[in-house]
Amino acid sequence: MADSCGVKIPIGPQHPALKEPESFLLTLNGETITDAGVRLGYNHRGIEKACEGRSYIQDIYLLERVCGICSHSHSTCFIQAVEEIAGLEIPKRGLYIRTLVAELERIHSHLLWLGVAGHEVGFDTLLMYTWRDREVVMDLLAALTGNRVNYAMNTVGGVRRDFTADQLQDVLKATDILEDRTKHYIGVATEEITFVQRLTGVGKLSHDDAIRLGAVGPTARASKVERDVRRDDPYAAYAELEFNVATSDTCDVYGRAVVRLVELMETYKMIRQLVRNMPDGPVAVKAPRKIPAGEALSRYEAPRGEDIHYVRANGTDKPERVKVRAPTLANVQVVSHMLKDGNLADMPIVIAAIDPCFSCTDRKISLRTAGSATAQPVTWEDLRLRGIAWHRARGIDCTRVNRRIAEGGRA
């Protein structure tokens, strides 16, 4: 196919393979990708800035909406930093419930991923079945917390709801069903020949590259990088749980699928331990409205990898700075590396294999004029002036209105 030599094809910002707006510019030689460029930033929502204008309690609900799937991850990660600054001792039962919801969230996230992976390689039957079974855990979460996503379980000092003994029994029942189904999917993913053929040897990421490019989560673990915050730097109740860190040495998409499935089996083990050893007592302690000055960094193993939140407090009821580093940001550099020299047909599954969540990822730290190489940090005032100029250029001028408001204020 000499005619398509050096063809550039745009994958995104809108493309059926992508569930969120994101742009990949692929250079093709026939069906082989010779170069891949990634462009982020279509989903910037200004969440970090919004956090600075709200109280800690309001920020929990805002940060829960960073991601629609790992919502509990972000709120827990944030709250851990705040609790560290405030020096709060969280009751054991609160930590156990937090961990239980976190692991249930991991189940629904990994089952969702398996379905998406099936869809990306044209195996829609897997998508339909995994998403059906995912309803079991979604219903369970709704029964436990009141919501299918964005559970609103966390509060500064603990969790907002206690679970009854009956509810914990329901968790065990659902876990049995899910474990049974997951065993079936392990069979499908490792035995169905067309599926295995599409995943094996695709999106290669060597052990050294995974470390060099800073991959996190299942993407790194599938390249034999044994990193898991839950074990390396235990938070919540993880220090008291027995579990193995799933890894694989195949360094390809197949390994990433296997790692996620094995992780599910470990999760079921953890849930049983959590329910069995659930201590009695209160679920939260009273937290002060104003958090003393200080700063903290919190790490959390989200289903997609390590999530990091940084919080700086200044003694008021609002944080001075909140920084969110979602796991996808760590993995997105890896994607363009994995796409290179790959096949166009493997593009969707290679991108999907990091379980990307682009809207979680988009943060702005500097601005650059299109085409120029130099970037400069942006101040709030710069952005304001830029916004005013942008609107003025389009005929929207608020100068008079502003002046009138200012005069009215003076009078």
Partner: protein, 317 residues
């Protein structure tokens, strides 16, 4: 030709078993395929009129021709595709051992007519001048070279045994020697697989892989033209199934039109069900895997089938 003869000829071509019958029948079979696919996937599936509703809705929509596209080819390709597919049916025996039209060599013509739609998909995609269409077009033609050889060989083998190049004579031969069908079973399996490739269905839906190249050749198509292309694919499924039924399952013929027709419906239904199951349980292959499969597994089996039939013929004659 008398007026009555001309009328009956027109009826044959336009209504039954020609265009109108094929269009309606293919949409009913599309429903069967979609409903079964949905049921196997644990979904509810569409209501019975969904394929008709889709067609009417698409036909009523505005059609947009891309500025860079070759407008003539863009507009005419759907018509050429549909016409050639419908024409292919006239040489295939449906409910008796005799097709509406027949001559020695009509088998070649049928296969030729069935190849044209793929070529039109290529031209339509290539002249749409969009990257996704052009990639889809290149994949369609590449895939054609892979499945066409096993398909032709596996259909050639039964013809060698029957010592004819005519579809009608072929069915007559197998009606006289029903047990000889058993020799052709491996060929039937290969032909089914190749038909999956021709219809661009999972696992061979590579030319229109949604998550990779949007809709392949059809990316730029809309409105009436897209409706015609979709109808072509549906009709192609029916004509392909009819061809396989005539070559590999020529039983139940010659007992009058009613039994013959009922038998025909059952055979087509069986093939549609087999195709639906295949696309439910398999994932999409990559183009290189597809070509390797066709050349390294399907083509050798089809060759073997030809050899077996040649040997059997020598022994029997």
């Amino acid at each position: 030709m008398t007026a009555a003869g001309a009328l009956s000829q027109a009826f044959y071509i336009l209504v039954f078993p020609g265009f109108l019958f094929l269009a309606v029948f293919s949409m009913v079979m599309e429903y069967v395929d979609r409903k079964l696919h949905a049921k196997l996937q644990n979904r509810v599936g569409p209501p019975w009129f969904q394929p008709f509703a889709d067609f009417i809705k698409l036909a009523a929509k505005e059609e947009i021709v891309p500025r860079d596209a070759d407008a003539t080819i863009f507009k005419y390709m759907p018509v050429v595709a549909l016409t050639s597919t419908v024409t292919a049916l006239f040489y295939i025996p449906v409910w008796s051992t005799s097709a509406p039209c027949r001559f020695e060599g009509d088998m070649i013509v049928t296969l030729y007519f069935l190849t044209i739609p793929t070529v039109t998909f290529f031209l339509a995609g290539w002249y749409s001048r969009s990257v996704f269409s052009m990639l889809g077009a290149a994949r369609a033609i590449l895939q054609m070279f892979a499945y066409e050889i096993p398909l032709f060989l596996s259909i050639l083998a039964p013809a060698l045994l029957a010592n004819t190049w005519s579809m009608s004579s072929l069915t007559e031969y197998y009606r006289a020697h029903p047990l000889h069908i058993l020799f052709n079973l491996p060929g039937f399996a290969i032909a089914l697989v190749a038909l999956l490739g021709k219809l661009e269905r999972v696992p061979f839906d590579i030319p229109e892989a949604e998550t990779e190249i949007v809709a392949g050749s059809f990316t730029e198509y809309s409105g009436r033209f897209l409706a015609l292309f979709r109808l072509t694919v549906n009709v192609e499924a029916i004509v392909g199934a009819t061809l396989l039924a005539a070559v590999f399952m020529p039983f139940g013929l010659g007992h009058g039109p009613a039994i013959g027709f009922a038998g025909y419906l059952v055979k087509v239904l069986l093939i549609v069900v087999l195709l639906a199951i295949a696309r439910t349980v398999l994932a999409r292959l990559r183009i290189d895997q597809m070509i390797n499969f066709c050349w390294q597994i399907a083509a050798p089996i089809a060759f073997l089938q030809v050899l077996v039939n040649l040997v059997v013929k020598e022994i029997l004659m």
